[in-house]
Symmetry: C2
Subunit: 694 residues, 2 copies
């Protein structure tokens, strides 16, 4: 998604001037026609497509991989896991009670629903917002859909159902549905330029995701049927391989949505259309610059590195992995693993954020990971998590869960304020408030990140476990209760008791419906050196960081798995090719990346003059302290540092080398979890701190 404040938007999006021009036009004859033909009543009369989904909607996970032939792991339903207390319970409660409702009001206040209403004559307002404004509604709907999967919220459901009715009322008889390409702009529909920049398919992709989540939350097919009509009536008959009209996704999103739709309808044409788009047959139509930026329009399997717009790249990788899960195409797997290597070895921030450059909201070159300039869009970190979730389903490798956890706790979690009403678009790893950048905002005209964060937190229970043919995998730790079944149908409850991520002790009580022989795959996070595992107080061997320890036995109700992970603060260095982190270290404790905020340091000390004095035995010297009154309750880390007395903020660009030893004085440094930064008054922040050389 494109930040409206950024240059890239002006470049690719129909300009504000055109919007203004449209708004001054008299009532458009086309609009009345639309409203007549597409009244809800007319729509209802159309025969609904029979769904062949199995299991039924209540039992479908974030992805319904039950019948995906190349999925090693299978999602469990969101509703199968409850999170009654602990770290994520509070965050999720705020998401439902504050973030989602206030975002609804802001979407209304910013005309996102009026865009639909005006097309059925309910107002005479002009279209408001960027070309992709419909997607804001759909992403918000998806957030609600996931909320409802965790339990009914009648008010929220009713409010959303009303919005869905207003959305489907706008659908044209052809199946087309978009509030921007109407009236005079109808002739621009699905032209190569519009496909490239107009976000029509991006919007429909999010509509499908929203529809599917709402369906899985309620069984209500209204929006889903509208999505099916768009795909089956408008898209499939007209677009695709010759002799049909060509198609490009422009902003990847439709691919993963089409495949998830296929997992409900069983209609293979939807999968094939996704494959056609991923194959990028339209590569000849766009200059290379555009296909790089779009991460589409050229064969996915010809990619060798992550480049271009980061969110586009991540969503494309999601779609391609979904395609692999259904087809097993080895060329896709080869590309996906190569891109994943590029991600994890060269292009990912320690926060799990991706996208180094503000210009084009893009990936940079290998090892280009600037901190203050980091873009790290919230949506891109979410895309990273979504992609790794799919990769994990494909190969069951814990390295993907490590990235999911890293992104979730840090680069995603940072995106929403602790109060739940302010959002980051950028998530830099260093910050200087003197530039005047208000890093957290209630609203962005391109408001992709806020509802994206909301849907992610709402869907979180669905990421805790997966099943496999031989047992169950646990990926995430938090107080929680799983109530589900093994793939052979045996009922299974798992209760987690833990104060994770503040503490590394996790007790899992396993309760199959009857004694049962299966493997419990317990994730040992990559950071958890020396983790100890026991079952019923009997040690289990084989726990290795960054792997699942398989515990195969006959499980009976009341069996207790004890996972014990030490959580010493860890001092992390980056590959020396990351020049922006040279001579610097980051601090991590458990899954949490830490940072310094200037306001926590002794008064008068500027972060730019500060170094961490590690002495000889780095991590021993940290003091960890749970501060329940700070930032919603966090473990704070303290360590000796140094403040250089020669002010490093001087205005000289180049000067004679002053030697390794420069005058400094000792001072205590206080680190807070990165996700909690920028929740107090504006102050400098940094994740990577120079090491003091004694």
């Amino acid at each position: 998604m494109v930040d409206s404040r950024k240059v890239s938007r002006r470049q690719f999006v129909t300009s504000a001037m055109s919007v203004a021009a449209i708004s001054s036009l008299p009532a458009q004859p086309g609009l009345a026609g639309i409203s007549r033909a597409s009244s809800p009543a007319a729509m209802m009369q159309q025969a609904a497509v029979a769904l062949t989904d199995s299991p039924g909607w209540k039992d479908q996970g974030i992805e319904n991989l039950a019948k995906s032939p190349h999925a090693k792991l299978h999602d469990i339903p969101v509703r199968a896991v409850t999170i009654p207390s602990g770290f994520w319970a509070g965050r999720r409660e705020i998401n439902v009670t504050k973030s989602i409702p206030t975002m609804h009001d802001l979407l209304e206040a910013n005309g996102r629903m009026n865009n639909f209403r005006r097309l059925v004559g309910k107002n005479n307002a002009a279209q408001i917002g960027p070309v992709y404004s419909d997607s804001d509604i759909y992403k918000w709907t998806e957030a609600v859909g996931f909320v409802l999967q965790s339990g009914d919220r009648p008010e929220l459901r009713a409010m959303t159902r009303k919005m869905i009715d207003e959305v489907v009322a706008v659908q044209e008889p052809s199946g087309y549905l978009n509030t921007y390409y109407v009236g005079d702009r109808s002739s621009d529909r699905m032209t190569p330029e519009t496909q490239s920049t107009g976000h029509e398919l991006y919007c429909i992709g999010h509509m499908l995701q929203g529809a599917i989540a709402y369906y899985r939350g309620t069984g209500d097919r209204t929006l889903l049927d509208a999505g099916i009509r768009f795909v089956n009536d408008f898209l499939i008959p007209n677009y695709g391989a010759a002799p049909k009209k060509p198609i490009v996704s422009g902003h990847p999103e439709i691919e993963l949505a089409l495949i998830e739709l296929y997992r409900i309808t069983g209609d293979k044409r939807q999968l094939e259309l996704a494959g056609y788009i991923l194959h990028g047959d339209e590569r000849a139509k766009f200059p290379e610059r555009r296909t790089i930026y779009m991460f589409s329009g050229t064969p996915f399997t010809a990619r060798t590195k992550l480049q271009g717009h980061a969110v586009r790249a991540m969503y494309a990788c999601c779609g391609a992995t979904d395609y692999y899960l259904e087809t097993g195409d080895p060329a896709y797997w080869k590309t996906l693993t190569a891109l994943w290597q590029d991600l994890s070895q060269r292009q990912m921030y320690i926060s799990g954020g991706v996208g180094a450059r503000a210009e084009g909201e893009a990936f940079g070159e290998a090892y280009e990971l600037p901190n203050a300039r980091a873009y790290g869009e919230s949506c891109a970190a979410i895309g990273n998590m979504m992609w790794n979730w799919r990769m994990l389903a494909a190969d069951g490798e814990a390295k993907h869960a490590d990235i999911i956890e890293r992104a979730l706790y840090n680069g995603i979690n940072s995106g929403m304020s602790l109060e739940g009403t302010l959002y980051c678009y950028r998530n830099p790893l260093a910050f200087d408030p003197s530039g005047g950048d208000k890093i957290r905002n209630q609203w962005y005209d391109t408001t992709c990140c806020p509802p994206n964060l909301e849907r992610t937190f709402a869907s979180l229970p669905g990421y805790f476990y997966s099943t496999s043919s031989d047992g169950i995998y646990v990926h995430l730790y938090n107080d929680s209760e799983l109530s589900w079944h093994l793939e052979n149908g045996t009922g299974l409850r798992v209760t987690q008791k833990t104060n994770y991520p503040w503490d590394g002790r996790v007790d899992l009580t396993v309760a199959p419906a009857q004694p049962s022989d299966f493997t419990f795959y317990l994730r040992i996070p990559g950071w958890a050196e020396g983790a100890q595992v026991s079952v019923n107080n009997k040690a289990v061997a084989g726990a290795k960081p960054g792997e699942y320890v398989p515990i195969q036995r006959t499980w009976s109700s009341g069996d207790v798995i004890r996972l014990r992970m030490e959580m010493p603060p860890q001092v992390i260095q980056a590959n020396p090719r990351v020049t922006d982190d040279a001579g610097r270290v980051a601090v991590q404790r458990g899954p949490l990346v830490y940072c310094l905020e200037e306001l926590d340091q002794p008064q008068g000390v500027s972060l730019i003059n500060v170094a961490l004095d590690l002495g000889d035995t780095p991590s021993d010297k940290f003091q960890s302290q749970l501060q329940t009154d700070l930032l919603g309750g966090v473990v704070v880390l303290r360590h000796t540092g140094r403040a250089y007395e020669n002010d490093a903020s001087a205005n000289v660009l180049y000067s004679g080398y002053s030697g390794i030893q420069t005058k400094s004085r000792r001072l205590p440094l206080t680190f807070i979890p990165y996700y909690a930064w920028a929740n107090r008054q504006a102050t400098s922040m940094q994740v990577w701190t120079p090491v003091y050389k004694a």
Copy 2:
């Protein structure tokens, strides 16, 4: 200027597709019309504008500041200084005997002159090359013009005069002259879009600069008159403040050319037009992104920092300084000094190169100075030198001469191979050949840098001295002979004897026509701590690095100034806000920045694992050695370093901190001057080397 291989070109320049489309058209009716009306004969009959320039063409410098009211210093003619031997003599000889002739052949081979010939029916070829291709010819003409200012080269002069005839033959009766916007493209002339991206005025700016240099080299007005016709007949009557049509420069260049033209013609309308363009009245017509990139189209005096396309920004600053030199407008001076602070404190490479980003060939943010990714276009470094030359004329401050010297010896000098036939477009400060980038090339389709380098080396004698009302300034040191006069008319010869930049001893023999009381301003470079000055063996006090030491006395023929500068290798650190240089140092000796090339280091050692072991007393431990057989003769620096044994090139992005002390072994490191890099086989290079921590 835009690198044709880069994305920015596709964005702003009429695409290759359009060119191809044009080429397939039948003969265009418009062309014949042009050739009829604009035959050389017809042109000759037009009355030439009377020139009011004073002094005459032979006595004009790079800029003719003789009558510029706000110039503190005044240029001396290029021909007033001869450079018989030493560092620049060889470089300039290669420039004249190899670079300029081979570039002529390449310009021909790549159709640059055929673009002119086809318009008078001499061939049926299609227009070849990017939209700004005419400027290649003009910049090359300027190089020849400067060569001829140092002495006649009849063959070169004849060849160039022939080209000039072919150029002026194409000029239309209106005064318009451009080989791209002809035929079907005539209707695109000077539209807002074409002004913004079409480089029409950029081409004419270079035409005027070429014409002026050729005029000053030969007294030949042919091309100059064509330029005057374009400006006076086509531009001034039709474009400017309302009710005329609006104008924007798009790629600044016309501004400085118009003002230099005014300095010859005395036609104030030319100065006023430059002022109108600099004032950027057309700001409302372009989105902010475009005005940032163009560094034009918005009031110059509203700028607060360097941004956008680096060459555009530098040329705009040149034009604005020229405008200040003529008008003394304090708003301009305020902006210029603010931008200069930004340049020198936040945005300049140690090489004098500018423009951190390949994307948009642009300035980055403050302190964004990546090394391997550095763009540092040769043209931008030249623009930096040109701008500082103008700033120096305005205030006489040696800090500008320091930047001129830094850019000239390093970031400009690196742009041309030692053989004189290969050119850098980018001048990065670190390089890894495994990417396959051929850093030096004979030809670029956007061939702005090669003739720009050629004109710079050809004009070099003009940068050695300036006069002021009270005496003379010396800026650059090299074996040379000045034969000129003080501003009061007293003849003056100055002979420099030195082996600069390899040695810091300079003897200047001063010979006024008669004993004369004036001030000799001797530049003490910023790096020259402890420089000693004497006149006739009597010490002169007051020599400070980065200042001119004023030596006021009655000078008589045979007086000898002795300047003695120690040249210990200096270890330089960058402001800690330059994160890319954190923990690293650069080595400089005299004006030369040094670098490591991997092929000079012990076999099997990878630069990425190397650190400089400075011990306690950095510079004492360097060994300097003149190697006459290496790279055309260079002083090589050697110092103890370390090679880390843990291979830093491993594929792990983040890992546990391994402590400051990592296993390493001693080895000798060999540094060569940066300008000479990439003149042997492909190998890794870096300017900034990590400091070993014992």
